[in-house]
Amino acid sequence: MSWNLILTILSSAFSASIPVLLAGMGGLFTHHANVFNISLEGMLLVSAFTAVAGTMSTGSWVMGLVYGMLGSVFVSLLFAFFVLKIQMGEFITGIAINTLATGGTTYFMRQMFNVKGTLTSPDIVSIPKWDIPILRDIPVLSDILNGQPWLFYFAFLVVIPLVYIVLYKTRFGLRLRATGFEAKAADAVGIKSHSYRLIAILICGVLCGLGGSYLSIGYMRMFSENMSSGRGWIAIAIILLTKGQPLKIMMLALVFGFCEGLGMSLQGYEIPVQFTYMLPYVATIIALFLDSRKKKSVGNKKA
């Protein structure tokens, strides 16, 4: 395996896993609020579409990003309305929203742009890529991390630390977790668990909006039918596996992205494609297994 190829795999592991990562960061808020939110997939898809529609109609990526977030926030409001206001099952609502997102984006794509399959256009303005002066001069890191859309750096340097701080170091995060842990007890001490859940769903919408926009106007410069391709589901799986811990979500999203790329390149070594397709899933489970073993042994020592 050439050096060049390894750098490419590493680079795409970072950049292509951003949507999963951001959806995971959003989903962990609902996870901690004890809202079983499976509509991450739909949120990603809708925001990927509205982001493209936004840049095409306004000619600016800023508006694309705004539209992307609005699209996803709209979906999250819909979810909140059904789940919190009229108390419908979270699972049913999630499924309905995901189906609606697939059908709806396809429908509007055909109606508004008269295309089927893929929407590409020179009018789609992508999020500008940053060439970072110091990073540029570091040999290996510059190949892997430099020249990405700024949302990429924003996700790693702002979103993840912020999510971590909000969740574990603020009163809001503590109360949110308390709400998820035992809503009635939280209510009894005066925490309005209802509004905490609503806020969690909205935060989820905003972060999924960033993830979806990154998908269609950051990493790619197009929209295609069902573009999220299960990334929302992978995010849900990762959240559940890690019990909603932000740093572990980041780690697993990267492992998944790296193995996806690695799987492709292993095809060059006569390994059957069925195994290379499996690799990211197997690797994610193994990573988790190793992690849980480590914790167990620490626990044993304590005992």
Binding site: S12, T120, M227, G261
Partner: protein
């Protein structure tokens, strides 16, 4: 009350979804108003599991049907399921209730039902496009495209690009291919491609990646990025929507790509050298002329080789702006040899079983 509201709201949401998928499945008004006096015009139906508007296979078929209708004054109807399996029964039933004389079909799941109708109506000429379908009475004919030949030419172009020292070609003699999935039909494309590359220079290496998905352009882009990093300067994509990601990667990496199924040369201008086109409309038109002049045989497996009505590579102003005149001349020469049989392209044995 709350429950009622929630149920109503859910129904409303679902109805939106279905209106999203729903296309004009049956639209009798779509038939052209041919003169009904005197001799009855022939009635031509096209049934497809897909939907129109894909800029590819389905649209190409429809254009062929429309051309027939215009030139021969036929009535026609188009029945599309839009990929929705629950509509398959309905569209095939509707098709035969319309009492067609000729049916062109693109099946992906309603083969059995079509065979049933074919057995009951031996007089209706049924032609299945792109796959082989035999009913017990042998009245269905099949049209197949020898994609190995079109892909052979794609391989020739790829080899010329990697050899030729164009603006964005590199030193390494490696060309790439991205397949949607590791299945016989995709392998048959690559089989032809490899032969085309070897025809120009047997030392050029062909690197292939299968994405495992036809609908995920992100994977396509990752695959293409990897191949470019391995030293490929041109990639042939056979991956549907996934392949659109490959074309985008070509533009970003400033390398070359080859499109597939329809003419994609203009998708990323200056980087998509050519496209391997499957001309279904041409084949449908050709079959219909056979029906009109009486040379059509029921139960026959028609194979369409290189050229209009079969598979061919699209050479237009985009191609001419990338390739040098000498390269274009070589391409034309090879094309000619392929058409007059001087070059024989081997067919992929696992795909062409009969």
């Amino acid at each position: 009350m709350k429950k009622l509201v929630s149920i109503l709201a859910l129904l409303l949401a679902l109805s939106l979804v279905f209106s999203g998928c729903g296309n004009s499945t049956q639209d009798p008004a779509d038939t052209s108003d041919a003169d009904k006096t005197g001799e009855e015009p022939l009635r031509v139906a096209f049934v497809t599991w897909e939907a129109q508007g894909d800029n590819g296979f389905c649209d190409s078929c429809v254009s062929g049907v429309k051309r027939i209708a215009e030139e021969f004054g036929c009535e026609y109807t188009i029945l599309e399921a839009g990929g929705d399996t629950s509509k398959y029964t309905q569209i095939v039933d509707t098709c035969f209730q319309w009492q067609p004389d000729v049916v062109f079909a693109s099946c992906n799941g309603f083969e059995e039902q079509l065979c049933k109708y074919a057995d009951q109506n031996p007089d209706i000429k049924i032609i299945n496009i792109d796959t082989i379908l035999d009913n017990s009475n042998k009245t269905i004919s099949s049209v197949q495209f020898v994609q190995e030949e079109g892909s052979f030419m794609a391989g020739v172009v790829a080899a010329l690009v990697t050899e030729g020292g164009l603006e964005y070609s590199n030193e390494e003699k490696i060309v790439g291919a991205v397949g949607g999935n590791d299945i016989p039909v995709i392998r048959s494309f690559i089989y032809g491609y490899e032969q085309g590359v070897a025809y120009i220079n047997p030392e050029i290496k062909v690197e292939t990646v299968y994405c495992g998905d036809f609908m995920d352009p992100v994977l396509g882009k990752q695959a293409a990025n990897q191949l470019y990093a391995k030293g490929c300067d041109i990639i042939y994509q056979i991956a549907g929507v996934t392949g659109d990601g490959c074309l985008e990667a070509a533009g970003e990496n400033q390398k070359y790509a080859i499109g597939v199924n329809s003419n994609q040369n203009g998708n990323v201008p200056g980087y998509v050298v050519t496209s391997m086109v499957k001309d279904c409309g041409g084949a449908i038109y050709d079959i219909f002329t056979k029906i009109m002049d009486g040379s059509y045989k029921a139960g026959e497996h028609y194979r369409y080789y290189y050229g209009e009505g079969g598979t061919y590579i699209a050479i237009d102003e985009y191609t001419e702006s990338i390739l040098t005149p000498e390269m274009l001349e070589t391409v034309r020469e090879v094309e000619e040899k392929l058409i007059n049989g001087e070059i024989e392209v081997e067919l992929y044995p696992d795909f062409w079983v009969d």
